[in-house]
Symmetry: C2
Subunit: 224 residues, 2 copies
Amino acid sequence: MSLSDNIVWHPSIVTREDRQARLGQRGTLVWLTGLSGCGKSTVANELERQLHAGGFATIVLDGDNVRHGLCAPPERLMLEQDETSAKRFGLGFGADDRRENIRRIAAVSQLFISAGLLTITAFVSPYRDDRDRARKLIEQSGAAGDFIEVFVDTPLEVCERRDPKGLYKKARAGEIKNFTGISDPYEPPETPEVWLRDTPSETPERLAARIANYLDSAGRLRAN
Amino acid sequence: MSLSDNIVWHPSIVTREDRQARLGQRGTLVWLTGLSGCGKSTVANELERQLHAGGFATIVLDGDNVRHGLCAPPERLMLEQDETSAKRFGLGFGADDRRENIRRIAAVSQLFISAGLLTITAFVSPYRDDRDRARKLIEQSGAAGDFIEVFVDTPLEVCERRDPKGLYKKARAGEIKNFTGISDPYEPPETPEVWLRDTPSETPERLAARIANYLDSAGRLRAN
């Protein structure tokens, strides 16, 4: 049979279920949200370490690998596109841009879930509407349980005291505009699946283990 | 130790190499290019079927799962965003939009490769510059060999005769503008890693097997 006869030829399509069976797990989006400096990336990386050690297939999406590519700012896109395109498609930190940023991340996460991966995202994602839209997208294209919201609930004072990248200082000085917690609101989740409170006795290992335990008890760490 | 002490605490990060070792393969982008109706999606799905049957972890990115989400057109984004945002971020078929479409797909593919997956894309991707930019992105963030261009070289007459979605007919009637092969150029690859010529004696199985063999001989089907 030739490709020219593709009207009668139907390939069997590999499904999400097939991929999950291959990996022995269920495609799941673990969505970490919280203020800048709250420990999202630290917990995300530690969670991935624990899951990987358990033999699971994982990916972490965070500012480090998304803001340089898929959701790059205009000034970066300008290196390879004309100015009009770069300004149009590049993402800054205004409300529309943040919304589009979260939309792209949710859309990509959906692809990762269909690949069967345990997908961990670590973005401030300050607006409830945006997070709910991400949840809706994931649940509608799959099932309830595919989206797990994790609130990394570190108080603003603690985040600002840490200020690992010096961003709070700049935001207080007015050098950064629209900075969540300072000049832009953070809308905390009301009913996250996992609520992590950062107390002096907590460790990243224990916080990550809390999420891993949730994944396990929710049946995400086996194929069906 | 508390999250508050994260200055001194460094999690061990799971790397692309770790993920590849877990999956027993090397993250690779198989980039199919060719005219509408050339058989890209058929070959992509059959290739995935063969690789999956061999125990490998795969994903296919094509219009079906990308054009509804990550690279949705303005009219779709308008369902959930205001008109200004939808028009700004939505992608049509003009030259700038096509370029941004390919840029986003390449950026997402890069993430999939870092997850260790055998990633298969099936898009017309008519412009040589865009494909070369995708290759550059992938090779610079990884290594030569991570990007495999596959030219599905079905003659225009054959594609137009098949016309599975009736698009050529509409393009000839002027109902679709900027249609590759009719009113917009297709720039064929000059030195693709795999060159598939669609002849009457070919089958999708054999064409896909040709790519799988290439992947195997290039060392992509083992972790190192």
